[in-house]
Amino acid sequence: MRHSRLWTWHILAGLVILVLLGLHMVIMHLDEVLPLAGLNPAGGEAIDWANVAARAKLGFFMASYIVLLGAALFHGLYGLNTIIGETNVGAGLKRFATACLMVMGVALFVVGTYAAIAARGLAMKG
């Protein structure tokens, strides 16, 4: 496997995290400063269930949660795998760690995606 591919996706995932996490921070913490009424229609705190449900109804938010989850998992686990690769443990153990991280990444992505879709379903039901 050419590592430039993994490295490129690692960097792109980092950029995605920067943008989406930035958006998350703005929505969560700058709601009083910026005109975000449409995203927090119930007023009060951005984290209140009514506001969370209102945002979850929007397809954009569901998609952004899934993309952020994928990007964060790939970026973080690839980085962790690189760190493990540079330790002095044996090659077999390194391969085992890589396999574990891959399984963990896929499993967490499936669970997280299910949660994002389910949250939208719940919000839609009201």
Binding site: M1, R2, H3, S4, R5, L6, W7, T8, I11, T82, G85, E86, T87, N88
Partner: protein, 274 residues
Amino acid sequence: MSESKTIHFRIRKFNPETDPAPSWKTFAVPFAKGMTVLDGLHWIKRNQDTGLAFRYSCRMGVCGSCGMLINGRPTLACNTQVAALKAAMVVVAPLPNFHTVRDLVPDLTPMFEKHQAIRPFILREDKGEMDAPTAEFYQTPHELEEYLQFSFCIRCGACMAACPTMATDRDYPGPMPLAQAYRYSADSRDGGFAERAKAVDRKSGVFSCHFGSECSAACPKGVDPAKAIQLMKRRLVFDYLRLFKAKKPCGGVHGQRTTGRREGIPEAPEYTIK
């Protein structure tokens, strides 16, 4: 430092065939103006320890043989003036990240094997032209600048000894081979980028570099291998994203080779040794 002074050399001694572990020996050496660490080692070998092993050849920072760890810095012994160290003690050990053959002599074989693996020469499809060129390859000064700095490498291994990634990952090619992979790939006469990419774009390859830049700080020839490594990474990523447009290696431009002398080239001087 006055000329009547003595300077102390603390040297790591180790013969892997007979010694269970390395030991340290201190020598008092008379200081002389302009004295290099290599001069000091020669004095010790002549006067105090004839068995002391160290490697050198040119004594002028050109051959790359005398790389060693001097007061904690990997560098060339012939290029390091004792006075410039500004220390009462000169501590000398073999280059780290290599096995020791004996005393101050590192085993550089892995470095040269990794260097060979990146195919450090011009690679072209027109093999006939490589083996028996019919003309000279044209290169603009700008094209020369693309790789010139990286071609000053003398394979001394100081960068390899300074590299933290080398210390933990034996499969990592190291700064010198990676810098040379870029040096040849950036040469407008070369067409071997794809082949070299196979050697460096892998696990424990060029992307294992953390850009700590210790290699560039250690390099006694100003090669800046860390820069070459980042340029190689950029080229590989751009190549993957199809943003890098490979140029055809330049061809011969001066026409067919002639056996006679070209116009305007003066005669060579007479040989001084008959």
